[in-house]
Amino acid sequence: MTAVVARARAGLRFERWAPALLLGGAVGLYVGIALLTGQSQYLTPDNAVAILGRSIALGITAIGQTFAILVASIDLSVASLISASAVLASVVMNGEPRMILPAIVAVLALGALVGLVNGLIITKLEVNPLIATLGMALIIQGGLSAFVSNFAGAVPEAFLVFAYGAIAGVPLSLVFLLALAAVAGFVLRFTRFGSDIYSVGGNRDAARLAGLRTDRVVIGAHVVCSLCAAIAGLYLASRLRSGAPWIGSDGVYDLESIAVVVIGGTLLAGGRGGVWGTMGGVLIFSLIDATFNLAGVDAFAKQVLRGVVIVAAVAFYAVRSRRLVA
């Protein structure tokens, strides 16, 4: 009996550290390949920042996706929302610095609205979140394509600071991402809303019987998720200097955000995990990409290997938790 408990605890400790282990493996692989192929010039702090910089949009989106998955839901509409937000931002700004603030407000309002509608459809109409958000993705994408077919509008110079600005050599966008992660981590760990998200994700019936307004919690998580996607859209508008209706789907932000959340150790069934794991997942993803670039893997093989990594990482967790039960 005591042996069983001890083993279970050891397994749990392992689970907590699994994302860190995976991350360590990814770093080791990257460094190893760099040294093997004689490209040690890529092992500088600047390069590390550059690797991270490529994943800002994914990181912001994935923070939101973490909320949706923790509450035992999911959001497939983030990629379309990113496109819509980027286009909306660049059209409203249209090169005018005085329109920056109204554009940001409009984009955030759009994000909040999409999240609210997603949440309402899922909770009040009881549509499976996969289907509800897939439908939302099609609606947004279709609506967007009806109005614009190419880069539309432009962001003013002043707004480029979001993507290209730096504080003491560190990109502003990276600082923003880390700050967002810190806020999200704090909310999940230390506030009522965060605690409610884990409770509802862990067992919605139990939470309801304990008196939680579970619908509101699910809707709240979806609003956070969509707001993050909207912010990612703002970032991409700044980075690309304009918005186009395909940038979200080109970046595969819907599936990749889900993949990094899961690689980061958040349970797809909800109730366990967190933002810092997700950040680890994002880092693992960018490191793998960077490693493939170093090794000169071609684009299609890269795609295959990414698929393998996702499946392997999830299988790794599954095997661990099965041992725990046995």
């Binding site: 009996m1 042996a3 069983v4 408990v5 279970a8 605890r9 749990l12 230390f190 506030t191 009522r192 965060g194 605690s195 409610d196 884990y198 409770s199 862990g202 067992n203 019936d205 139990a206 939470a207 309801r208 019987l209 304990a210 008196g211 939680l212 349970l267 109730g271 366990r272 046995a326």
Partner: protein, 507 residues
């Protein structure tokens, strides 16, 4: 501890003339029920008698169609479970509503976490949880994850939650259903402590032993109506008669006569796994062998090892004289084993499928094996229907989804699934958990019939009286080994002694 005499405490909660119908079917009809401060009021009745509807009305999950609910004499209406909680009514459901990924303290404060300036006050949660656990005398760490706790410990978390809510009424729905004898004893003490503190405890149970141990008053529900109410402890037979409307004379089928016991079917020697050590025993044809022990003593682990679900590290198993080593449940079933899991809903049933489909699961999966034996048209629906008929499975039709059936009928359907395969050895884990009194006897009878037809039966149960009554022999396990053997009709205390390894029996 002395039992408070009825009428001593103030009337805390009261139902008068409560009726509730679902789609025209009366679940409760003109039910009156009252519970006083400091008393344990047992609510008994068969499944379908209306107990769960009554609980759901008390807890605010349902609103009565007619009738009144009063607390301390004042009329009250619950629109949401939260209202009931705020009024001081806590319910401990049979299926625990705890979050396994969260800590004890987080579960105790689920839905009402204290905050300071918007931030959760984890220290206050921990302190209050520790206080509540202390009152219960439960040595649990508030920071332990609930998923790591044993079932009995989880129940303590539920009770701690009620204490910290300052519950005036505590409704416990068959709290001992998943507990072993030792854990039951702890629970009884806890219930007595709560009653002594002035809590009105509504205690729902099937077990007469618990009623006589704990209850000051007894209300018997039958077919949605109050069949009897006792203000003093009546004789168990009186209660049972009110529950089922008749006497249960031959509750357990008679044990096997020496002539009925045949050759050795399953022979296990020196078996060891990660949790078992040197387990050896024989099962003979025509025999029901009971396995007693505390939770975690290795009984379920032994069943799983025999069934090919756990790796065997040492020892040998032979079936009908031939050595076997099953590496998967499928191999074990092909070899002639069958297992009825303890957690029917999770491991035994496809809840959304029909009774017939559930019954045919085994025959379909092993259609080729059965065709090779070709003794009868096992795999056919007519065969299963006949089997279900013979076992007296009560369903509106065999096309009905099995989740609508009572526990007893579900268990019989699973048994039918096995009978279609003609197993040599059948392993029953908690065969009557969640099965009402009347149907229990039916299950025991079916087990005995099966043995008479030459099968060997391994019966794992935490319900000691049931083991003593139904089994021909009882093996007691402790810490992964078999530590004692008893014949039919052994004394409960002696078995407990062996199971706990203590000098004095705990219960």
């Amino acid at each position: 501890m002395t039992r408070p005499s009825p009428g001593q405490g103030a009337l805390v909660i009261e139902m008068a003339g409560v009726s509730k119908a679902f789609h025209g079917v009366m679940a409760l009809r003109d039910v009156g029920f009252a519970c006083h401060a400091g008393e344990v009021h047992a609510l008994v009745g068969e499944n379908g008698a209306g107990k769960s509807t009554l609980i759901k009305i008390l807890s605010g999950a349902y609103r009565p169609d007619r009738g009144a609910l009063r607390m301390a004499g004042r009329p009250i209406a619950f629109a949401h479970p939260l209202d009931a909680l705020n009024a001081g009514v806590s319910v401990i459901h049979q299926e625990f509503s705890l979050l396994p990924e969260r800590t004890v303290a987080q579960n105790v404060f689920l839905g009402r976490e204290p905050t300071r300036r918007g931030v959760i006050d984890a220290a206050a949660m921990r302190a209050e949880t520790a206080r509540a656990l202390d009152l219960l005398g439960a040595p649990l760490d508030p920071d332990a994850r609930v998923g790591e706790l044993a079932i009995a410990e989880r129940q303590m978390v539920e009770i701690a939650k009620a204490i910290s809510l300052d519950a005036r009424v505590l409704v416990m729905d068959e709290p001992t259903a998943a507990l072993n004898e030792h854990e039951c004893a702890i629970l009884y003490r806890t219930v007595e402590t709560l009653a002594a503190r002035g809590v009105a405890v509504v205690y729902i149970t099937h077990r007469m032993r618990e009623v006589s141990r704990l209850a000051a008053r007894v209300t018997v529900l039958k077919d949605g109506e109050v069949a009897a109410r006792f203000d003093t402890q009546p004789a168990p037979q009186t209660i049972v008669r009110a529950m089922v409307g008749r006497d249960i004379a031959d509750f357990y089928a008679p044990p096997a006569t020496p002539a009925e016991i045949g050759a050795v079917v399953l022979d296990v020697r020196g078996l060891a796994t990660a949790t078992l050590r040197d387990v050896g025993f024989e099962l003979r044809a025509g025999e029901i062998v009971g396995f007693a022990g505390l939770q975690g003593a290795g009984r379920a682990a032994l069943a799983m090892a025999l069934y090919g679900e756990a790796a065997i590290t040492a020892g040998s198993v032979s079936l009908d004289g031939a050595p076997v080593a099953f590496r998967s449940p499928r191999a074990a079933i092909s070899g002639g084993l069958g297992l009825l899991p303890g957690d029917r809903k999770a491991e035994g049933l496809a809840l959304m499928q029909s009774v017939r489909d559930n019954g045919m699961l085994g025959a379909r999966a092993f259609a080729r094996l059965l065709a090779r034996r070709s003794t009868h048209a096992h795999a056919g629906a007519t065969y299963i229907d006949a089997l279900l008929d013979r076992m007296d499975v009560r369903a509106a039709s065999y096309d009905q989804e099995i989740r609508f059936l009572s526990g007893g009928n579900q268990q019989k359907t699973i048994l039918a699934r096995w009978l279609a395969l003609d197993p040599r050895v059948l392993i029953f884990i908690e065969p009557t958990r969640g099965v009402h009194v009347n149907a229990k006897a039916g299950i025991y009878r079916l087990m005995r019939d099966l043995a008479r037809r030459g099968a060997a039966i391994m019966m794992i149960s935490s319900d000691l009286p049931e083991l003593i009554g139904a089994a021909d022999r009882i093996l007691v396990m402790r810490d992964g080994a078999i530590v004692a053997e008893f014949g039919h009709g052994a004394a409960e205390a002696a078995i407990m002694l062996a199971a706990t390894g203590e000098r004095e029996a705990a219960a």
